[in-house]
């Protein structure tokens, strides 16, 4: 990240897999859920909402809603959601959502995936502070657990 904004995240990753393969992994809601650790109750359709249940141990009580924005086959996919909406006692519906965008580009070595999430400055600062407070026992630990799990299970479950 070259610009120190507080509003958006931009990530790039070169995946050694064909574009069609990456496209399916990000737009097939079941496959998306495999790596995102969320089980969705329907497909991703532009203009529609889809609910997912977090499958990560300890967070099964949490559900997330994706509002699918745009799908341009094998090139672009976007949705809006409330990031970090893990406190089930909080009603997040009145707060602005962030926009998550996936862009695919074919490269000789595979597929270049760009992921951007923007709109964080719309999230109340108190909400962001609360997310940080819970971070030590929550996500930092969870990410470590995910990493450990992935090291032990490099192959995703067959479907």
């Amino acid at each position: 990240m070259t610009t120190r904004t507080t509003d958006r995240i931009d990530k790039q990753i070169l995946l050694r897999a064909p574009r069609a393969r990456v496209w399916k992994a990000i737009t097939d809601s079941q496959e998306f859920g495999d790596w995102f650790q969320t089980k969705f109750n329907g497909p991703f359709i532009p203009g529609q909402s889809v609910r997912g249940r977090v499958t990560h141990p300890g967070y099964e009580h949490v559900s997330v809603d994706f509002v699918i924005e745009r799908i341009e086959p094998e090139r672009y996919f976007s949705y809006r959601w409330h990031p970090n909406a893990i406190d089930t006692s909080v009603d997040y519906s009145g707060e602005p959502m962030t926009l998550v965008e996936f862009t695919l580009e074919e490269k000789p070595e595979g597929t270049l995936l760009t992921v951007s999430e923007s709109g964080f400055d719309g999230i109340p600062i108190e909400r962001r502070a609360a997310a940080l407070k819970g971070n030590d026992s929550g996500w930092t630990g969870q990410i470590k657990a995910i990493e450990a799990w992935l090291r032990k299970h490099p192959v995703a479950p067959a479907r």
Binding site: I9, R21, F36, A129, L132, I143
Partner: protein, 116 residues
């Protein structure tokens, strides 16, 4: 996260605010970082920017939640709102880490059947 936490170096601050893209406002931010809370008179001293222009720029910084003005007698004193900024930056770093982990998981997911 404590209120006593300092904002960071001037260079770092400049990077944070480069989205503002205005040299006068960056200069004001630098003065507030270096000199602590100051009056408008203190902020205009030694520069050829008018009091009116400085006030206008401070209002813009205030609207962005980066500085705040505290009424003190007849004058306002202005200070950085470092905690707010620090929260915003730490939060973004946390969310960025999450994407790193998720994209790692995605990589494993899509490369498993392309590597062999």
């Amino acid at each position: 996260m404590t209120a006593t936490r300092k904002l960071g170096t001037l260079e770092e601050s400049a990077r944070v605010f480069d989205a503002l893209g205005d040299p006068t406002r960056l200069g004001l931010v630098a003065r507030l970082c270096r000199g602590g809370p100051q009056s408008i008179a203190g902020l205009t001293g030694g520069s050829d920017v008018t009091r009116q222009a400085v006030t206008k720029h401070l209002r813009i910084l205030e609207a962005a939640g980066l500085v705040r003005g505290l009424r003190q007698g007849r004058e306002s004193r202005w200070e950085m709102e470092p905690e707010r900024l620090e929260i915003a930056r730490e939060y973004l770093a946390m969310m960025s880490e999450r994407w790193t982990a998720r994209l790692d998981a995605l990589r494993r997911h899509v490369e498993k059947d392309s590597s062999g």
